[in-house]
Symmetry: C2
Subunit: 218 residues, 2 copies
């Protein structure tokens, strides 16, 4: 991505993120990383100890970049309406997951995240606590605000999962979506429209769930 002079270490991190994401941990060879980063093979082991050490560093780096450029609360103020908060939250996810300044549509480094969801490595535990749990908690609090009551985890968490699931699926299945529904592929120009769609869809979902559960409990 960045062509301007960087330190060897930085260049390795950037390049490794893309390649690990595209190929997966096992399929990635340090020779390939070294080649792409125009760095000697031994430099990788020198800076990161071994392949696994490099991977951990990459994972942390990727999450740091994503949540620094697109924080969970992006655009959300204390006086923002709950519904608006949800829109910002979803739009944030789309941009973090799919924009080029973010995780580039999981086509590059971002696919790392999907791979970790699928099969968490030990290195994932750290980012789970640091980035993902707070992110989830924020969403849950937004849902509570929209519902106007706290229906408990058996309602809240599935709601959160449904919302996050839609966003991540766009990112995860981007290659397939491009093939069977090209018009709606999650490319840069579509992000706002798709985010707004998911937002509306989710508002409707939350509303429906609220009706049903209120109906049952009372």
């Amino acid at each position: 991505m960045t062509e301007y002079p960087q330190t060897t270490k930085e260049r390795i991190l950037e390049v490794a993120g893309d390649i690990f994401g595209k190929e997966g941990f096992k399929a990635t060879t340090i020779r390939r990383i070294a080649g792409a980063a125009q760095v000697n093979i031994a430099a990788i082991n020198y800076h990161f100890r071994d392949k696994e050490g490099l991977y951990s560093a990459v994972l942390e780096h990727v999450f740091h970049i994503g949540f620094t450029r697109f924080p969970s609360k992006m655009g959300i103020e204390d006086d923002t309406l709950p519904e608006q908060q949800l829109l910002f939250f979803i739009r944030g996810m789309f941009y973090r997951l799919l924009s080029n300044e973010g995780w580039a549509g999981l086509s590059g480094r971002g696919r790392l995240i999907a791979r970790e969801l699928l099969a968490p490595t030990p290195a994932f535990e750290a980012v789970l606590d640091k980035y993902i749990k707070p992110h989830k908690d924020l969403l849950v609090s937004i849902i509570i605000a929209i519902m106007g009551e706290n229906p408990g985890p058996r309602i809240l968490l599935p709601c959160a999962i449904s919302i996050i699931g839609q966003c991540i699926y766009y990112a995860l299945a981007a290659p397939v979506i491009k093939k069977i529904a090209e018009e709606n592929a999650p490319v840069e120009g579509n992000l706002d429209r798709l985010a707004e769609f998911v937002w509306l869809f989710s508002l409707g979902g939350i509303e429906k769930i609220r009706q049903k559960t209120s109906c049952v409990t009372r």
Copy 2:
């Protein structure tokens, strides 16, 4: 899974599905498969030509099993109400993706599918046409029936993606969901409840989308 005598070829297929799913293509060694299936290494190349040939066969086999045991239209008759059809469709996905008779929660062979969504291999093209596209078309027709009108692909496909996305995310992120929302992990005993939740949520979503788009177009 099956312990009773099978042909070598069948045993290889079964075992390879699990291992490819858990480890990914590159990380899977044919020696490991041979060991687990109690088969000579060369037998694999004999029956399937090479590692890639085995993988293609496994992928087709996995999809065949899944859509044979849990067909897209499972439970859907011609006179089923559209809303009911959606419930059956979603429930079918949950069982296909997550039950032990299906793809076993992507913990075993089913994870193959998620891997293919993430990074399609050439072998995926075939199953895409044979299984996935018809499956998508069915869902789209159900959505049209629920909406009572055809709002065009820019509305329909995002709807379909939102619905499928929720289902697949449960399967994909099962390891992580277990960690942060254990009560709602997609295990056998939760499938009906979660399917019904996703159904309600999606009905609400479709309704909301329909309102908005009618509002704008007219």
